[in-house]
Subunit: 261 residues, 2 copies
């Protein structure tokens, strides 16, 4: 199933996407819901952010190529994680598919995308095992972990480098049925492919992360875990359109525009 949060004729609700049609749902996918008879053409609705997570988890380094490229640039040896560890991103930065990423006035030209698979939690879960970990996963969406690399280098933490308003596009919808091992993530800038990797070739996969996190954390419906990215991005500039295309989910597309001051 493909769950879309959308607005049509001033009403925001959940819907189910089949082909080019959205069927309005009463309720929400994490609780009680039922399909109505109301439908819209997908092209006629405003796609909204699927949700604001209670806790917004994000894996920093989870693909070998990304790690090596970052180390090469810094002139260091890649420090490959020996166990799954998690970071966080900030809710203020989330925007929907087709909304603009605003490059802050004081930013440098080092604005990069990171195309990521996003795991959406569907059930309260603690102390998961390898055998039952995937039961708490509701579905998958796409994230763009936009980063300002000069700030990332200069600051003590990732606050403005990764969490400036609009730096976390997520969407366009949540897909519940995917084949992780057949997925590829392709990234395009202004229609031209600039990166491609096998989505599930992670240093640590979804199951090890769910098991490790749930040793310490209660996962809640609507929490998200961004799973990291591979490869590197060119510098993005005012007007660039970035598409992140993951097999079986869809395309997350956002235009980058410079803040007007």
């Amino acid at each position: 199933m493909r769950w879309l949060k959308f607005t049509a004729a001033g009403d925001t609700s959940w819907g189910l996407v089949e082909g080019d049609t959205v069927t309005t749902v009463n309720g929400d996918p994490f609780g009680e819901w039922n399909k109505t008879s109301k439908t819209h053409a997908l092209k006629d609705v405003k796609i909204e952010l699927p949700l604001i997570p209670r806790t917004f988890y994000c894996v920093g380094l989870n693909y070998l190529k990304h790690l090596k490229e970052a180390a090469d640039k810094a002139g260091t040896v890649p420090n490959v994680p020996d166990r799954p560890e998690i970071g966080y991103r900030a809710q203020n930065a989330l925007i929907a598919h087709d909304e603009n990423v605003v490059i802050p006035a004081g930013a440098t030209e080092k604005i990069h995308y990171e195309g990521e698979l996003v795991v959406v939690i569907g059930k309260k879960a603690r102390h998961l095992t390898e055998a039952n970990a995937m039961d708490c996963v509701f579905g998958y969406t796409i994230g763009n972990d936009v980063s300002e690399r000069s700030w990332q280098k200069a600051d003590r933490g990732l606050w403005r480098a990764k969490n400036a308003d609009t730096f976390k596009p997520m969407g366009p919808w949540i897909e519940t049925d995917v084949d992780l091992d057949r997925m590829e993530t392709a990234i395009r800038v202004n229609g031209k492919e600039t990166g491609r990797f096998r989505t599930n070739e992670m240093i640590f996969g979804i199951v090890p992360f769910l098991v490790e996190l749930s040793k310490y954390f209660t996962l809640s419906p609507g929490d998200v875990i961004w799973m990291g990215t591979d490869g590197a991005s060119p510098d993005l500039k005012d007007g660039d359109v970035v598409e992140i295309d993951i097999t079986g989910i869809g395309i997350l597309r956002n235009r980058f525009v410079k803040e007007k001051v």
Copy 2:
């Protein structure tokens, strides 16, 4: 005004505390509300977590003594911040006044408190100035930034060291009227004072943080900013009761108990 989220007779709502009495309020302090005629004795109600912030901001290093003690322990020179930078904590870790901090089964004895002033945002705000920054502050509460120092040292980030379930007690209520310059933070373990500092003697105060954060972030009603702590904590053990007492706000009290496995 002193805003309390509480449960009585199975109903959870906001209330206003005057002396030892809570008056139930319809609505909530960030939107429309009105006082009802229903009152309870404060001692008869269950005190709830005031709110779950959309974005959970937390200042890492903001008091000189804390910085120096941490540097001394690490055998390094204190690296005093030259500008306000922010970190994050995780919503899963929040608990209310009088709820138990559960020390995870795998934790070492290096469990520490950090008593912090918490700023609660009341209005949507971006690009604040020194002159208008304080207008977006709704009030103040108290936080205990519980930390497992061995994990803090061993891990790449602060995930389980500071965000394990129950590691973020916050409360007991939100006080809107305080005199920042007359506040002291006192911390007691099992009734014995173990730390005391002037709450507002920060390296960077509330105004510089609000101005800097709002250059990049839209602050939202219910967001919180934990302002950092001074001094150091003894190692806490199973059964210890920690009280954080801030002048004009109140006392946040939590018992620490070892996880049963």
